[in-house]
């Protein structure tokens, strides 16, 4: 039995969690939006408390389909992006989490609606991470020690520095898609 089968399915608040395929070609890139085959798509309601189950499901799926270190990295990316969407996304629309692969890249994408202030904050933070992921990670870590304000954004810093994933932000109106990806 694979761990995909052993692990519990996402909670009932998740409407869909199935291996799927979007078809289409694969596009390799260097930091742009990842396109390719969608291996798993999970759709859930903001604030639904689906984080633990969904993360366990994605981790199990990634572990089954990808080599161990890669699965660990994507597990971090999936958790932190999904957690941010649940915490900061609009409650009036769905959150979509996708595990995507192309021939050379693999990644996790989380899409949700957000208010413009949140989008601006996210964009600013991603710019900092793009400039120097390690320094930002250490800053956020230090902020955890001092408990400073604003709220620590250690999660996204973990995705880039710890998991070594490249973050890409796409915004269309209020719809935000953040993709964390790396070479296979």
């Amino acid at each position: 039995m694979s761990s995909f089968e052993r692990k519990p399915l996402p909670s009932s608040s998740s409407r869909l969690a199935v291996p799927t395929s979007s078809g289409g070609g694969s596009r390799t890139n260097d930091g742009g939006a990842l396109s390719g085959r969608v291996l798993v798509r999970v759709i859930c309601t903001a604030g639904s408390g689906a984080l633990d189950y969904t993360h366990a499901f994605i981790t199990a799926y990634a572990t089954d389909h990808l080599r161990g270190a890669l699965a660990q990295r994507l597990s971090v990316g999936a958790y932190e992006l999904f957690s941010n969407a649940l915490n900061f996304g609009s409650v009036s629309s769905d959150i979509v989490l996708e595990l995507i692969e192309s021939d050379t890249w693999v990644g996790v994408r989380v899409s949700n609606d957000a208010i413009s202030a949140r989008i601006a904050m996210l964009s600013e933070h991603l710019s900092k991470l793009e400039t120097n992921a390690e320094q930002t990670y250490l800053e956020e870590f230090r902020r955890s020690v001092t408990g400073g304000i604003p709220r620590p954004m250690l999660g996204l810093a973990r995705v880039t520095h710890e998991a070594g994933l490249t973050l890409d932000l796409q915004v269309q109106d209020r719809r935000v898609s953040v993709t964390a990806q790396c070479r296979r």
Partner: protein, 126 residues
């Protein structure tokens, strides 16, 4: 019996916790709940207080089997090291036993070490 060994171990869904020696705690599994402090902050604080009362020179926290933790959980380890760093009297060394094969442990404890190196030690078992 030492106070350290007598600390009540919390029951949590995803992480297994054992006191394996009078100065050693072992955690394995994952910590993914939104507020892990509810289960673990009091426990870590109790271990810290007990270690001081027992006048231990070293506490070993074996986290090598902790395969995933969220950012809130990392903060719990940061808090523990900070309590110790801020201790004015005799204090112990907090030695984290880690695995090189677990991604989060490499970066998190390296960063923690840079902030609290006077009270911390990091050991790799794999």
């Amino acid at each position: 019996m030492s106070q350290f060994s007598a600390v009540q171990v919390p029951k949590t869904e995803t992480v297994a916790i054992q006191l394996t020696a009078p100065n050693q705690v072992k955690l394995s599994g994952t910590i993914t709940q939104k507020e892990p402090a509810n289960d673990l902050a009091g426990f870590f604080k109790a271990l810290h207080t007990a270690a001081l009362a027992d006048q231990l020179t070293e506490v070993r926290a074996d986290v090598s089997g902790l395969t995933f933790v969220n950012s809130s959980a990392i903060r719990l380890f940061v808090d523990w090291a900070t309590w110790l760093k801020n201790e004015r009297g005799a204090r112990y060394t907090l030695r984290f036993v880690t695995s090189r094969n677990v991604t989060w442990q490499k970066t998190a404890f390296m960063a923690l070490m840079s902030l609290t190196k006077e009270v911390l030690a990091v050991e790799h078992v794999t």
